[in-house]
């Protein structure tokens, strides 16, 4: 099989605005917690915790929110795809069981 010239280019491989948005959100949540110079200090303290420590612990929640946003965006795009491309052999793929996932 000649790989590079294969005709079956699935449209879902194309980059869509949703995918750019998701990538941006995820990159934000990956890069910012690693910018150590932005939080490498002791003050201000919170409940005795130096900034260095409580800032990173707060990022646990920010990262979870970012992942949730990315999840929501990807699910929305996938539902739209499934609405436009019903699966062979199943009549109601866009509602009910799949919608509740």
């Amino acid at each position: 099989m000649a790989d590079d010239t294969r005709p079956d280019t699935d449209p879902r491989w194309k980059l869509t605005p949703t995918k750019y948005a998701v990538a941006a959100i995820l990159l934000f949540a990956t890069v910012v917690p690693l910018l150590v110079s932005t939080y490498d200090r002791v003050e201000p303290r919170l409940f005795g915790f130096p900034f260095f420590y409580w800032y990173q612990l707060i990022w646990v929640f920010i990262a979870a929110l970012c992942c949730a946003a990315a999840f929501y965006l990807l699910q929305r795009e996938r539902r739209a795809w499934e609405r436009d491309h019903p699966r062979p052999g199943s009549s109601d793929t866009s509602t009910g069981e799949r919608g509740s996932r």
């Binding site: 079956d8 303290r45 992942c67």
Partner: protein, 547 residues
């Protein structure tokens, strides 16, 4: 040393026995017709939903790494060597979002179970998938070794062991024997079931520890002050007379070390055979991603656990081994023994020991699956029956643990965290082959192999003893000066960058000469398939021939 803590030891043994009984019971959970197959022994039937997957993944994250190695590193040398685990588990989830869905889809369309399967399907190149399989097994060994160190630490503080050469490693051999017997008989079902119990126990213990201890010791402010005082105490080394004990916060010059340890560990985690198995065992495409939203709950507890290392500084815990030497790995068990009644200490010890045992079992099973599927069946005995495969996996899971034992016995145990970083160094070199292929076929198979080889050699040589920051050799430290950058950084990540550089240059050359890039068995639509699509195997089928 204060001798054997009988109450704690008995509680520990009782908990252990209960969990073991439960483990054997679990073999009957969703009982299959026949346990004598790789499918059932090694993959637990592959029908796990969000909750079970969460616990299984939690089992991979909450290990002796979390409650022995990280706090020990915090206690000994502070933030840079220990607290990086927090950003590590934070950036982990956004990263897995990028590729987990595609990996699930292609695996379930083609019945792939291991990372080497995925690479084999994408490039049809046996040597490349062999490299992935061998690396997976090798990298798992130091990670299992870390678990053995954890169990050993608990037993040693409880008073099992001594100062003679034989007695010193006795707890380790006990830990090894229990783990081996356990995995051999029950396979993946037992750790999956026990993971529920394990996590419940751990949550209780952690909750009590992180609430009660700071109150008793006068609050977090005092704890951080004590840690700061310890870290800023001069501790000259031969190479650096101005050296301090450790880093209270990362500090200038160590930013890249901190960030690269976190990023490297995060990139490495999902390349490990056991993590891939856990995520692929979920029943639909989004389970893994849904988990990425709720798994950060683990990170918060991990951060608080890491800080128990600082709590121990304030509490003036002396982690004295039975051989009369200071051993940082003992600091958390010792902290519990000093501050809690014996029975609760026993519960905590049980939680830690079981918490090390479960992931060690999962890891050795995953490594054994990798061997059976991608080496034994691919090269040695293509017509092996199910029963032969299961038998082979059981034996290899034993061999993997012997390898882990060798790591513990030959390497310096003072910095157990380094075991995990050593495994990460190796497993990271498989990332381009596994992940890049999920997005593009541009990268060339021989360039992938060359990049892998260069990354492995550079990383191993550097970590073995040529690194500038190493105080103990071999494999004493995972930080080394980064070429061209000057600051210290995680060797594994540096090796990955070199790996990718070789990969890109190699690909450009090979494409120039139009060298064949292997046979791709996958189609683009495979990367988006979900359960219910035609061709998607709801339960991964290990019998599908690959080679």
């Amino acid at each position: 040393m204060n001798g054997v803590n009988w109450v704690a030891l008995i509680v520990l043994i009782v908990l252990f026995a209960l969990v073991t009984a439960l483990g054997f019971q679990a073999a009957r959970w969703r009982r299959p017709k026949n346990l004598e197959s790789l499918h059932e022994w090694g993959l637990g039937g592959k029908s796990f939903g969000t909750i079970t997957t969460w616990f299984l993944l939690g089992g991979d994250l909450y290990t002796a790494y979390t409650f022995i190695a990280v706090p020990a590193a915090m206690w000994a040398t502070g933030a840079v060597s220990g607290f990086f685990a927090v950003p590590y588990t934070i950036v982990l989830y956004p990263i897995i979002f990028f590729f987990l869905g595609r990996m699930w889809s292609v695996a379930h369309t083609h019945g792939y179970v291991t990372t080497a399967d995925i690479v084999q399907g994408r490039y049809g190149t046996r040597s490349l998938s062999l490299a992935i399989a061998v690396t997976g097994i090798l990298a798992t060994m130091p990670y299992i070794a870390l678990q053995l160190v954890g169990i050993q630490a608990v037993l040693e503080v409880a008073g099992v062991g001594g100062n003679s050469a034989v007695a010193r490693d006795l707890p380790l051999l006990i830990a090894f024997a229990v783990l081996a017997a356990y995995t051999y008989s029950s396979g993946l079902r037992a750790p999956a079931m026990i993971a529920f119990v394990k996590d419940t126990l751990i949550y209780i213990v952690i909750a009590v520890a992180v609430i009660y201890l700071p109150i008793k010791l006068g609050g977090w402010l005092g704890i951080f002050d004590a840690a700061q005082a310890k870290m800023n105490t001069p501790k000259p080394t031969p190479t650096n007379p101005d050296a301090l004990t450790g880093a209270f916060i990362a500090g200038p010059g160590l930013h890249w070390a901190y960030a690269s340890l976190a990023l490297g560990s995060a990139l490495a985690l999902f390349m490990y055979p056991h993590c891939v198995t856990a995520t692929l065992s979920s029943k639909d495409r989004t389970t893994g991603r849904r988990n990425a939203m709720i798994l950060p709950a683990y990170s918060l507890l991990l951060g608080l656990l890491a800080l128990l290392g600082f709590v121990a500084i304030k509490a003036k815990t002396v982690p004295m081994g039975l051989d009369g030497k200071l051993n940082p790995q003992l600091v958390i068990p010792q902290l519990f023994e000093d501050h809690f009644p014996s029975w609760f200490t026993g519960v905590a010890f049980g939680a830690i020991a079981i918490g090390a045992l479960v992931p060690a079992a999962i890891m050795s099973i995953a490594a054994a699956n990798l061997f059976t599927r991608n080496i034994y069946k691919a090269y040695l005995k293509p017509d092996a029956t199910d029963a032969q495969e299961a038998k082979m996996s059981k034996i290899v899971s034993l061999i993997t643990k012997v390898g882990a034992l060798l790591f513990v016995l030959t390497l310096d145990k003072q910095n157990a965290l380094n075991f995990q970083l050593l495994g990460g160094l190796w497993i990271l070199q498989t990332l381009p082959s596994i992940v890049f292929g999920l997005f593009t076929r541009w990268f060339h198979r021989w360039a992938l192999l060359a990049g892998w080889a260069v990354g492995m050699v550079y990383g191993t040589v550097e970590a073995y003893g040529f690194c500038t920051a190493c105080s103990t050799k071999p494999f004493g430290n995972s930080l080394a000066k980064v070429p061209l950058l000057g600051d210290a950084g995680y060797i594994g990540l540096t090796a990955l960058v070199i790996n990718i550089a070789v990969l890109v240059i190699g690909t450009l050359i090979l494409r120039q000469f139009k060298v064949s890039n292997g046979t791709d068995l996958t189609r683009q639509s495979d990367y988006f398939a979900d359960v219910g699509d035609p061709g998607v195997v709801p339960v991964l089928d290990t019998d599908t021939p690959l080679h």
